[in-house]
Amino acid sequence: MDLTGLGLRVTAARPHVLLATVPGGAAVRLAAERLLSSRDWPQVPTPAQADLLLVAGPDSPESQAALERLWRDLPAPRARVHARTADEVEAALDAGRALLGSPAVQHESAALPAEAGGHQEGEHGSRERHEGDGQAPGHGGEGGGQGERRADDAHGGPGGGHTPHDAGQDREAEHGDGGQAHDDQDADGHGNPGGHGGHGGHGGGRTEMPGGLPMAEQGADRDGLALDQLHVSLGPFLADWPAGLTIRLVLQGDVVQRAGVDEPATPAAGGAAEPYWAQPWLRVASGERVPVGEAVRRRAAAHLDSLGRLLAVAGWPAEAVRARRLRDDLLSGAPRAAVAPRLERFTRRVGRSRTLAWLTSGIGVVTAQKAREAGVSGPAARAGGDVTARYRQWLTDIRRDLPRLEDAAPLDVAMEESPRGLWSAEDPPSAALIALLPRLLEGAELAAARLVVASLDPEPDELAARSAVEVARG
C-alpha cells in the first residue's frame, strides 16, 4: 500500500492530462494549454495515457455521451475536472491534482463503479495487478454490455483510436483475402495472426463473434480488390483537432474510402457560445467599436493556433510548442517589439523548411477557383493550392499583420477578413471549409487526411453563431 501511496503522490506531481474541448471552449482550451505547458503537465492524446480528464468549455449536453466514454477508458488512478471558463482552469487543475493525490478519493472512486460510467474497471485491487488479469472475474460476464459499448464507440467514439469494434474489422482487413468472414477464432486472440486466409475455414462453423464484435463488411478498393471496410470516426475529442468536429471515415487499410461530416455539436444555448476567434468581428456586428489592432492580433493568434495544430499533426512538436507560445504572447497583449523577432524567426524556420514542404506537397489541393466556387474566402482561398501553400499563406498573413498590431483605427468587417475568411453570421467562413472536407479526404491516407483537416482548420463554433442568427430570426 505504501507503494501505491507513493505512486499516487508521484502521479499527482506530474499528471498527464487529456484535454477534451467541448464546443464553445476555445478560450478555456487556450488557458489550459498555456498553464499545462508552464507547469510541465504533459498533454496526452488518448485516455490510456491520461491521469486527469480536463473538460474545457461550457456545459454541453450533446457531448456528454462521448465524454462519458472517454472517462470510462481512463485507467485508475484518475480524476475528472471541468473548467467552464478560462478563469476556472487553474482551480480545476489544482482540484484535479488534489483528487489524484488523495488515496482516500482514489480508493472511493475506484470502488464506486457508478462513477466509472457503469463500467467495471474500477475495483481497487485491479490497480495493483499488472499481470495475468486478462480474464479477471466479471470481465467475461460483461460480454453483452461490452458489445454495446463497442458499438457505441464505433459510431461516436472519442476518436482516440480505442474503437475495438473497428479494430476487429481492421484485423480482418489485414487478412482480407476473402473467405474468412467468420474466422472468429483468429480474432479471439488465439489464432496465429500471421496465418493469412488459409485458416478461414476452421472457425466458419461458429456464429459467435469474437468479444461480441460484429465483422466487417467488404467493399472494392481503389485497386479493384475486395477489402474489408472499417468505420472509424475522427473527433469530436481527437487531439489537435477542431473541437466538436466529427468526421466519419470508411477506411480500407489506412486509405479513406468515404468521409462524411456530422453536424457539429453546438454549445448549450446561451451567450457563451460565440466563436472565440471571430469575437472582434461579432462585436462590430453588434455595433461596438473595435480597434483594428485588436482584430489583427486575434487573427494572427488564430493562424498561430492553426499552425500549432498543423505542426503537431505533422509531427514537429518543437515548432508546435513555439507556435503556441507566440500565440499566447500575442493574446496576452505583448507589444509588437517583444514578439516580432521571435515571430520572424519562427516564420522563417517553418516557412523555409524544405522537409515540411516536401512532406505536405501535393496533399489536399484546392485551387483558388474551386475555393471561390465553394464559397471559401480566407487564407485557404488566397493560397490556392496544397497543404504547403496553405500553411505558407498563414505565415505570410502573420507577417503582413505584424506591423498593425497597435493600429487604433476602427475595424471595418468588409475590409478585414476574420481568421477563416470574410465574416458573415449567416454564412460563417468555416461552413464552406467544412463542406470542402469530404471530397478532399476521400482517397487520402489517414496521415494525409489529418494534414488536410489541419491545414484548413475549420472552427465548428462559427456554425453555432449561424444557428444563433437563425434562432433570432425565428
Partner: protein, 309 residues
C-alpha cells in the same frame, strides 16, 4: 584489443545503457523546457522520471478481444532487444561477448524491434494502434537497407564482422571521415529504429499515439524505455563502427568511448527536434531512389580500397 567475457560486464553493459538512455531523456527534457519557456534546470530534467513510479500504480488496460499474449510479447521485445544488442559493443577495452559476427548480431537485434513493434500495435485490437504497427513496417522498408549498407561499409573497410576489429582497423582515420554517407545513413537508421523524432511515424500524434496509444502502466513504460534504450545503444555502436572506438590521445580507452558516445547521443537528441515526422510513403521513395544507391556506392569505396592494398 578488447577483452571479452569478464563477469561484471554482464551487469555493467545494461547498467551503462540505462544510464545513457536516462541521460538522453533528461537532455531531451531540458531542451523541451527551454523550448516551452520553462526554467531550465535539474528539477526539470528529472521530471520525466516521475513516470516510472507512476507506471507502477496505473491500472492495466483491458480491451475487448485484445491479443494479450502477443501484445505483451511485443512490448517486452523492444527494450530486451535493445539491451541484448549491447552485448557486442566494446566499451573501452571491454565487451560482453566478442562475437566474430558482432555486426550481424546487432543488426539482428535491431530487426527484432520490427516484430516487437508490430505486435505491440496488433495486440490491443484498436485501429490506430494497428495502423501504427504497420507504419513501422513501412518505415522499416525504407530505413533498413541503407542502414545495412552502412554497416556493411564499416565491416568491409575492416574486412571483419567483429566489432572490435572494426574499431581497431580505424587506426589513424575514422570511418566517419572517409565514409560520411554510411555514417549519416547509420545515424538516420538509429533514429528510425528508436522511432523517435523525424521517425516517430509509428507513434505519430496524428494517430493519437499510434503504437503507444493504447498501452498504459508498465507496458507503456517498457515500450517508451525501449525507444531511448535503442537510441543509447545506437549511439554507443556508432563509436566502434565509425569513430575509432576507444582510441584517442591522453585519456584511457573507456573515457574516450564514453566521451564519443555522449557526443553522438547529444547530436541525436538535438537532431530529434530539427525535423517533422518523415512519413514512410515519402521516405520510401527517397530511400530507394537516393539513399540505397548512395550507400551501395559508399560500400564500394572501402571494397575497392581494400582490393588495391
Amino acid at each position: 584489443m578488447v577483452e571479452a567475457g569478464a563477469w561484471w560486464t554482464l551487469l555493467a553493459a545494461p547498467g551503462l545503457l540505462v544510464v545513457l538512455a536516462a541521460l538522453a531523456v533528461a537532455g531531451n527534457a531540458v531542451l523541451d523546457a527551454r523550448n516551452a519557456g520553462r526554467p531550465v534546470g535539474v528539477a526539470g530534467a528529472v521530471r520525466p522520471f516521475l513516470d516510472v513510479p507512476r507506471a507502477l500504480v496505473v491500472q492495466p488496460r483491458r480491451l475487448p478481444a485484445a491479443d494479450r499474449l502477443l501484445w505483451r510479447a511485443g512490448v517486452v521485445t523492444v527494450p530486451v532487444a535493445a539491451v541484448l544488442s549491447t552485448l557486442v559493443i566494446p566499451f573501452g577495452g571491454h565487451v560482453v561477448a566478442d562475437l566474430s559476427v558482432g555486426v550481424v548480431w546487432f543488426n539482428a537485434m535491431e530487426v527484432l524491434t520490427w516484430a516487437g513493434l508490430w505486435l505491440a500495435g496488433w495486440g490491443p485490437n484498436a485501429a490506430f494502434s494497428l495502423v501504427g504497427g504497420y507504419r513501422f513496417l513501412a518505415q522499416g522498408l525504407a530505413y533498413e537497407l541503407p542502414l545495412m549498407f552502412a554497416l556493411i561499409s564499416a565491416a568491409t573497410g575492416a574486412e571483419s564482422l567483429r566489432v572490435g576489429d572494426i574499431a581497431a582497423a580505424q587506426d589513424g582515420l575514422w570511418y566517419a571521415v572517409w565514409m560520411p554517407v554510411a555514417f549519416a545513413a547509420y545515424l538516420a537508421g538509429v533514429l528510425a529504429f528508436s522511432f523517435l523524432g523525424p521517425f516517430a511515424y509509428p507513434a505519430g500524434r496524428d494517430l493519437a499515439g499510434g503504437v503507444l496509444g493504447e498501452v498504459s502502466g508498465v507496458d507503456r513504460l517498457l515500450l517508451r524505455a525501449g525507444r531511448w534504450l535503442w537510441l543509447a545503444s545506437g549511439a554507443a555502436m556508432a563509436v566502434p563502427l565509425f569513430l575509432g572506438g576507444g582510441a584517442g590521445p591522453g585519456l584511457p580507452a573507456w573515457a574516450w568511448s564514453l566521451v564519443k558516445t555522449l557526443l553522438v547521443l547529444g547530436l541525436l537528441v538535438w537532431g530529434l527536434r530539427r525535423l517533422p515526422v518523415i512519413r514512410a510513403d515519402r521516405y520510401v521513395e527517397f530511400a530507394w531512389v537516393v539513399l540505397i544507391p548512395l550507400t551501395i556506392v559508399q560500400a564500394l569505396v572501402p571494397a575497392v580500397v581494400n582490393l588495391n592494398r
